[in-house]
Assembly symmetry: C2
Homo-oligomer: 212 residues x 2
């Protein structure tokens, strides 16, 4: 089972690493980080480098695709080698998925036309402009189209657990949850715009003008 995670300059690391950490442990899974060129990409803030193992061209037949988000997605839409690759490989995948603003790339590839989908909470309008119907659900599944989109950053972990169940079975997926000891106990409850105070909303706008 080949799971391809495309990386690009200014990707958000946790979007990619959350699902990777869940799925790499599946029996017989191989996770391959792919990109326009092999080498390394630098994350959104420039603070972390992640390795690319193979090019998009070298990876024409992934079984699963997980497109992470990050401010770098904006340079990939509406057209880029990654968008072309998504279009080309999707007919052969079992699942084509996204985390955060990775859904903008799926939308640009035409995978979300007229469909409910999600993205980072600050990017609903951008997603809508690309033809999807944004919804506030954390994970949106379309089994018939074999497409899943997840909300911002950390939601990729929840999405990957669901994906693990689809790819294997419930017991194995629960074992993956235990393997990453995912028994979340956040000290606050401000993880969605509907739960955050006005003060928190103001603070995040102040802090993260260039982030998703």
């Amino acid at each position: 089972m080949l799971i391809a995670i495309p990386l690009f300059e200014r990707v958000t690391a946790l979007d990619a690493v959350g699902p990777y950490e869940v799925l790499q442990r599946l029996p017989e899974a191989e996770v391959r980080f792919v990109g326009e060129q092999t080498g390394f990409v630098t994350t959104d803030n420039g603070m972390l480098r992640l390795g690319i193992d193979g090019t998009l061209d070298e990876t024409p037949d992934p079984d699963v695709v997980i497109v992470p988000g990050g401010i770098g997605t904006r340079r990939l839409i509406p057209e880029s080698p990654l968008v072309d690759w998504i279009r080309a490989v999707h007919p052969g995948t079992w699942w084509t998925t996204s985390v955060c603003t990775g859904s903008l790339v799926l939308a640009a590839a035409g995978l979300l036309d007229g469909m409910k989908a999600t993205t980072y909470w600050a990017a609903y309008r951008e997603l809508e402009a690309l033809g999807a119907v944004p919804t506030e659900q954390r994970v949106v599944e379309h089994p018939e189209q074999r497409v899943i989109t997840a909300a911002g950053v950390s939601s990729g972990i929840d999405m990957a657990l669901r994906l693990a169940e689809h790819l294997t079975d419930r017991t194995t997926a629960e074992a993956m949850q235990l393997a990453i000891e995912y028994d979340p106990q956040p000290p606050f409850d401000a993880g969605a715009p509907s739960k955050a105070s006005q003060e928190v909303m103001a603070r995040i706008i102040e802090i993260s003008r260039t982030r998703d």
Copy 2:
């Protein structure tokens, strides 16, 4: 504010990337990935490469230290350049912390002697053998000693949110939670040994003989 995250061969990626993703967004924070040598390390399964920005020697005065876990920690205890470095820098840090089996490294450095601490659920005995008192809490804080240990892998996100509050204020920490849209909705409830079925426990032992 300099936040140093040591990396080493066979580190567990999410242990490092979860806290990084929360803390990199703090105003004026610089996250630096440090190691014995600059270059790259490969994660526990060999599937992902993470970049190291500076050596331990070049980083004598971090304000915050976060030691991730992974099977690679076993080669670092009881003595290694990283253990020496932890001993040397801890007196000057605001907080010295760990995720998963990173606590074995803190314990080897003598930071957890006789103290309650946590680690990955499968490593309690190893932690105890190094002088700490293992407890099943997800995040264990010792404000006086400026030490925090977190449980397995994904618990680093919960720990980092608490750390964000200590380093800034509650509003900023909540904004960081919103920035990573951390409103967890796991599809199952098997993220701790006490919650997992016997069948799930058997499956994980079968799958992950060499992982933490």
